[in-house]
């Protein structure tokens, strides 16, 4: 046991010295393993914690903010929504199917462990250059993995987003979000209590899969990434489904004191965190752990990341009732230890004490780094630009990888199971899922525009929050809270750490201005391969609520409606898709985010929707105004005639924020209301016919637009 071995476990010299101080002796192999995973970036947030503390996490409707397995907000009628987004990036590069599948499984457990029935899954995916031959394989595996797991557990996958960029070539991002519903007064937490109480293991048996996964997720990839495949876990969605039903059945009794899933770092993190949070000690007898392999060592069992396992502290005497429920569901159930008053974790195996560590210093003396930051270099200035050719540019834009129809992907995800999906993927700016037995509905979205964040981390991250807020607003729902999934490169590089710090500042600014607090989140660093980092990607998962699901508005326009632009004429081409796809430049500053305007415009839109009379609503985002109009027409299968308007590229393709297109029966009335509210508005045209007629008289047939829009994914994946 020495410094060299510690380094192999991912602990640096300082950290190893700290281990020696805490232990007062040389740690055992198992003890060193426990320290190394608990102090890994993945589990300890040692590079990010100082920044995350600055995020706003409070609002009157927040029941539990960050620090629990997931965030909890009150949604009315005595109910709570429980949600979180989490990354599974590193495993998804090594083995896309299992990486993505277990990402879905892990986030589901974070949500149902708090007492919620999961009601919706979403995701945020980033892939490399479509021209890179590896991209197709990774897209295929990730989409199959998400579908394979989500479809089987019977939780509908209702939304998500996908970007392509060469910066993700060696490092795709798979961020999975789960939303659940629970009675607000029946939330289950992880803090252990009650000395002597039994500690119970349920779910799948422990194997040697995923050992040291958390450490793998805390390092860059080199050329040997393939050799790390044994650290990827294998998912079993069938067992997960049984685990959901068994846990919810047990939660209906009063048997549970505390419960947590065994996620990253498995038995180690769950037992250490549960006992640590409760200020008690814990003693584990590994001989009692259900195992699917023989001859496993204490080290292997403590660090295994076998999936679909939970750790539960029961009330004394509740073992019988709990065992009966898990046996009914044909799941393993074992009492593997008990709580103690020692404040230590003691691990016994085959008559020997394999680990004996004081819990307080393991948590309190975990490393915390104020890593140096450096500003991002300013974006390249915008060069000379071609004139916009509206029809041609629109057809090219709706066909580009970042805007093309995602139907090929959605068509592989079960979006209707549960019988509550009011707006399926692509039907509205946010997915709408009704709460079973109520009129209430949730509005759910995931958003981030990484090219904006790369150009200006603060503004780009504020934009991600604003877009999530806007997407919820555009359905008529009231935005309540977000979960943030921070995907960045190597934090030891000052520019990357600067991106992270800037993004946190941007999120904080937007959350405060929009009353949209952060209630849960996840950080994934070291997203680099061979020294090349991803685009900074703070993915935002947003949740809103509608008192009546019947009021939800989609984005599909119907014939005979006026199209109205709210929020002012666009003009900002910096970092726009038009600039990238048509002018061939990734340049300029991202669109500025005026949060006061954002709020004013959004509140007006929501009020108009609540008052009735808004047939469809879509925010102006990637691709700009003309793309937004095209998307509304394609979704509603109608054409439109657009009236006189500026012919500048910036007007039609600028990606200015705080703008919406509404389809209404009476455009004049909406213009008058907007004027009275001091909100700039413009009548764009009227829907109807078989094509989109532009102000210059050119007409694009809907069929042309649709075939361009739907070409990309089938061509990439099935050619």
């Amino acid at each position: 046991m020495n410094q060299a071995l510690a380094a192999e476990f991912g602990l640096d010299a300082d950290e190893y010295r700290r281990v020696l101080d805490i232990m007062g002796r040389t740690p055992s192999f198992a003890e060193l393993g426990i320290f190394s995973v608990m102090w890994s970036e993945h589990c300890s947030y040692k590079s990010s914690r100082v920044w995350l503390r600055t995020l706003p996490t409070q609002a009157p409707w927040v029941i539990h903010g960050p620090g629990e397995n997931a965030g909890v907000v009150a949604i009315g009628e005595g109910l709570a929504a429980i949600f979180k987004m989490e990354s599974h990036n590193h495993p998804s590069f090594i083995e896309p199917y299992q990486g993505a599948a277990t990402g879905v499984g892990g986030i589901l457990r974070d949500v149902f462990t708090m007492g919620a029935r999961p009601v919706a899954n979403l995701n945020a995916l980033r892939f490399g250059d479509p021209a890179n031959p590896a991209t197709r394989r990774i897209v295929d595996g990730v989409v199959r993995g998400i579908g394979g797991y989500g479809n089987c557990v019977g939780v509908p996958t209702v939304g998500g987003e996908i970007n392509f960029h060469p910066a993700y070539d060696g490092n795709p991002l798979v961020n999975a979000m789960t939303v659940g519903i629970a009675p607000a007064g029946r939330i289950f937490l992880s803090a252990a209590a009650g000395i002597g109480n039994p500690v119970v293991y349920v779910g799948s048996r422990t194997g040697r899969d995923g050992i040291h996964g958390a450490t793998m997720a805390s390092a860059e990839f080199g050329a040997d990434a393939e050799s790390k495949r044994p650290t990827v876990q294998v998912g079993d969605p069938f067992v997960e489904k049984l685990l959901i039903e068994a846990c919810l059945e047990l939660m209906a009794t009063d048997a549970i004191v505390a419960i947590q899933d065994m996620g990253a770092a498995g038995l180690t993190s769950s037992s250490v965190e549960m006992a640590g949070k409760g200020g008690v000690g814990i003693e584990l007898d590994l001989d009692q752990v259900p195992q699917r392999e023989t001859g496993m060592s204490a080290y292997e069992m403590m660090l295994s990341e076998s999936q679909e396992r939970m750790l539960i502290v029961l009330r004394p005497g509740a073992e019988g009732i709990a065992r009966a429920i898990f046996e009914k569901w044909e799941l393993d159930f074992a009492v593997i230890g008990h709580l103690t008053g020692t404040g230590r974790i003691v691990v016994r195996h085959q008559g020997r004490i394999e680990a004996d560590i004081p819990l307080a210093p393991l948590a309190d003396q975990a490393p915390l780094y104020h890593r140096p930051t450096a500003p991002s270099p300013p974006p390249r200035p915008i060069g000379s630009l071609p004139a916009a050719r509206l029809a041609e540019d629109l057809v090219r834009l709706v066909a580009c990888p970042d805007l093309a129809s995602r139907a090929w992907v959605w068509d592989q995800y079960d979006s209707t199971v549960g019988g509550q999906t009011v707006k399926r993927p692509g039907a509205a700016d946010a997915a709408i899922v009704r709460v079973d037995g109520h009129r209430l509905a949730l509005a759910l979205t995931t958003d981030c525009t990484p090219r904006y964040v790369a150009a200006d981390p603060e503004a780009g991250a504020a934009q991600a929050v604003a877009e999530a807020w806007r997407n919820i607003t555009a359905t008529g729902a009231r935005p309540l809270a977000i979960t943030d999934n921070m995907n960045f490169g190597n934090p030891e590089k000052p520019v990357v750490m600067g991106q992270f710090a800037g993004a946190v500042a941007g999120i904080a600014r937007a959350c405060i201005a929009l009353d949209f607090p952060v209630v849960s989140g996840n950080v994934s660093l070291y997203n680099e391969t061979a020294g090349s980092p991803i685009l900074p990607t703070p993915a935002i998962g947003g949740l809103g609520v509608l008192a009546d699901a019947a009021q939800a508005v989609g984005l599909a326009a119907a014939p005979g409606q006026d199209l109205v632009l709210l929020g002012g004429d666009p003009s900002h081409l910096g970092q726009s898709l038009w600039l990238r796809e048509i002018a061939g430049q990734e340049a300029g500053p991202p669109p500025p985010v005026d949060l006061a305007a954002e709020r004013r415009h959004g509140d007006f839109v929501r009020a108009r929707i609540a008052a009735g009379g808004v047939a469809a609503c879509h925010d102006v985002a990637d691709g700009g105004l003309l793309v937004a109009i095209g998307e509304m027409l394609l979704a509603g299968d109608t054409g439109a005639v657009l009236g006189p308007a500026p012919d500048a590229a910036g007007f039609w393709f600028g990606e200015d924020q705080a703008r919406y297109v509404l389809a209404v029966a009476d455009g004049a009335a909406l213009l008058a209301a907007a004027q009275a509210a001091g909100i700039p508005a413009r009548l764009l045209g009227r829907t109807g016919g078989e094509g989109l007629t532009l102000p210059d008289g050119a007409t694009i047939s809907l069929a042309t637009l649709r075939s361009a829009h739907e070409r990309f994914f089938p061509a990439l994946m099935e050619s």
């Binding site: 199959r144 579908g147 394979g148 479809n151 089987c152 557990v153 019977g154 079993d236 969605p237 069938f238 067992v239 489904k241 049984l242 569901w329 044909e330 959605w410 068509d411 592989q412 995800y413 079960d414 979006s415 209707t416 199971v417 549960g418 019988g419 509550q420 999906t421 009011v422 399926r424 009704r434 079973d436 699901a549 019947a550």
Partner: protein
């Protein structure tokens, strides 16, 4: 109508089915755990969709060996009504309560989208509230919905009028494009010879509420409720 929904480990559309049945009949169905064997008093047994036993062997093969299946067989022999949807259809086929097999989709991908179905006969208790030839919409969500049987069996099914639903284009025509999972003769659902057992792949239970996109599935349950009113 007293309906029971059979729950095998891994079934996941039992709540959707319960909503549709209660909406049509005004009576909450009984949830029947797969180890139960007493189905007395039930007019209709429903095996809903999902992934029984993870579909890890062949879809439906494990569930077909469950204790409750003997009771379902007895119920069917007594002339009782049985509805199997998606995984439920697969289980009925594996139990040989219906002929044929459900293979991997021709595309080898999971398919989740609305499809159009043509009602092939309206003189059954399942389809009494539809018109013959009517085209209805229903969500489908399956990886193994590619109906297969040998030609003799298919000819018999057609000859005896036991094809209940076919995948069609919105105008009712049978096309290859509308038959996305590759089913033999575009078959989406079949009946037993006494027309009291129906198995089908798509999910009428997920389209019974205008708020959720339509009510094309509702007449199936309303027809059953009317036929089995007690």
């Amino acid at each position: 109508m007293r309906a029971g929904i059979v729950v095998f480990p891994g079934i996941n559309r039992e709540r959707d089915m319960a909503i549709a049945l209660e909406r049509a009949s005004g009576r909450a169905p009984r949830m029947v755990w797969h180890r139960e064997t007493d189905l007395q008093g039930l007019d209709l047994i429903v095996i809903p969709g999902g992934f029984s036993y993870g579909d890890y062997l062949r879809c439906g093969a494990m569930a077909a060996q469950s204790p409750v299946m003997e009771s379902i067989r007895a119920h069917a022999t007594r002339g009782g009504h049985v509805l199997g949807v998606c995984n439920g259809f697969q289980i009925l086929v594996e139990s040989q309560l219906l002929p044929g097999a459900l293979l991997r989709n021709a595309s080898l991908r999971f398919l989740s989208m609305d499809c159009h179905l043509r009602v092939e006969r309206a003189d059954t208790d399942f389809t009494a509230h539809y018109q013959r030839g009517q085209v209805i919409r229903a969500p489908m969500a399956h990886g193994d919905g590619n109906y297969f049987a040998d030609d003799a069996t298919l000819d018999r099914l057609e000859g005896e009028g036991l094809v209940a639903f076919r995948y069609v284009a919105p105008d009712g025509s049978v096309t290859a494009a509308a038959n996305r999972n590759g089913s033999a003769r575009s078959i989406a659902g079949i009946l037993s010879p006494n027309r009291r057992i129906l198995g089908l792949m798509p999910h009428p239970e997920d389209l019974v509420d205008p708020l959720l996109g339509g009510t094309d599935g509702a007449p199936l349950f309303e027809g059953l409720a009317a036929s089995l009113a007690a």
